[in-house]
Symmetry: C2
Subunit: 355 residues, 2 copies
Amino acid sequence: MTQGLGDNPVLVEVTRGEKIESFHRGAIAVADVQGRIVIALGNVRRPIFPRSAIKALQAIPLIESGAADALGLTDGELAVVCGSHSGERVHLDAVRSILAKAGLDENDLACGAHWPLSERATRELERAGARPRAIHNNCSGKHAGMLATAVHLGIEPRGYERPEHPVQAEITRVVSDICAIRLEPSDMGIDGCSVPTWAMPLGSLAQGVARYASGKGLSPVRAQAAQRLMDACLAAPVMVAGEGRFDTVVMRKLAPSVLVKGGAEGVHCAAMPEADIGVVVKIDDGSKRAVEMVMMALLASLVLGGDLRLGDRLEAELRNWRGLEVGRLRASSTLKHELETLAARHDFVPDSAAR
Amino acid sequence: MTQGLGDNPVLVEVTRGEKIESFHRGAIAVADVQGRIVIALGNVRRPIFPRSAIKALQAIPLIESGAADALGLTDGELAVVCGSHSGERVHLDAVRSILAKAGLDENDLACGAHWPLSERATRELERAGARPRAIHNNCSGKHAGMLATAVHLGIEPRGYERPEHPVQAEITRVVSDICAIRLEPSDMGIDGCSVPTWAMPLGSLAQGVARYASGKGLSPVRAQAAQRLMDACLAAPVMVAGEGRFDTVVMRKLAPSVLVKGGAEGVHCAAMPEADIGVVVKIDDGSKRAVEMVMMALLASLVLGGDLRLGDRLEAELRNWRGLEVGRLRASSTLKHELETLAARHDFVPDSAAR
């Protein structure tokens, strides 16, 4: 086998009839209040790219620079900066508002264009005979935040997406600080929206998310900025993703217990500001269906406090084009065992679980 | 790990910057003229669902029953029966023509509806304010063939999609015969389009595809039916998939050397009627990007006869929304090694390779 990739366990199975048709391997890291990794399933030392799952970390300079205050950004606007939006009207309005407050417009966005993640928004564009623009890109909120930071600091905003631009350099410092990791040039990749994304071990990312959630190990100013961004996302979950999408649905159900955010290639992070816990999942093959199943199972266990009434969360029906049930998407026995072990660890059950 | 799934090798790597971001495991079986498995990479005994990759096998009763002759089906119509079409006008016309020849219409299709696989066709439907219907389902050609078979045999066509219907029972016998495998009720799954799909070991499927390609081990009538269907697909590759899609592009380049057909959940089959070889790939996680990369690498090696000028086929650029290259999709070292071994086996290089 290809060296260095390790043998991560099967986390999710996809069945058809009585057989397992496909399956997904991956790794999970959960870090606690002290930043200790308390669950390490699979290879948590392998570097992964966090991609969009840490937009809330990348948004820190927007707060710390004073730009958010100076421009009077609302919770919804901060949430769309931390989000991967669906391109619905509510999202576009928020992004346009941030840009306008910074004296810019959508032509300044360097994220590239793609059809809105929302099928409805795509169909509407199509009916209007229009093509998608950069503002429809799910990352346009993040980009608007970066632009606003540059403008507020009096830095030339053009080229804001490049690694050497002061805004990106500051974001890199912030991510490096929160995750307590030294980032080398060879750790850098370019994200789908053209800004840098930094590879780091899954375990380091989980510890960073725990620190972000708890504020512990961060400067008071940074801890406050993180809290403000988490509060904004939890107050406006629809801005972080969109109607019907995983992160929005989960946060509506579980707020204020968890800020959950997915990224491309099967990465998902959860910051639990009440319990001071960080959770990171990476599916080896980049699967979205698998990472959402695993995150749902983990959150059910962590937020519901080890209560194993998880049946309906650990298995989902797969239906075909006529609506017939043809199989299931389900947690593997390895993952179920891990959740049972977690449930038995009363020392680790977060306080919020008692509610 | 979950028992019985085995540890298949990494076949495809997805890089970003200098790191491997995601990777895909899977298994490969190549069977030769005699139906021997000459390449078995990974667990070729694990049962897999062939899904749409064996529509050309499922179409045999349409020929053997005499329905295709009686109704005067054209090459293009036979190819769409063997295909997973894009829902372009040329496909819909062919499906409607088959149905009309059988005295039926699109309301008789039981495959369920989905938006056309072709983005262009989807946009056209949308602009017309229409919703997708069963005829847009990529399987509507296969279903039209099943309906035509029933009508020609004087069997009630309603319920043709059910396992107990005589047409499905005959298809099951044909698949079982070609793959020389006894199919048990527990091997049955229901496909996305509601007809049965039968799980069998990857190796058995490869041997079945080799027999289908060569006619060896089949009755003369069955061998002739297989040849006719292969000829139809190779004469009209656009009907098997659609403009820009893998199977169409590959067959246009490599016809008449290979009939290649993908299925859902990362399955891909190639029948090589000149070389009498069968190739089957299954990616554990069901990934399309990975199975197409592996199949392309295998075909380049098999059809080009071990000539290792494969550089451009073993690696593809991944570009982001702005067109920047951010990473690569590439054959793993394990797969490359297997291809080199294959190239060195001159006893196995098919005759067609010399061309």
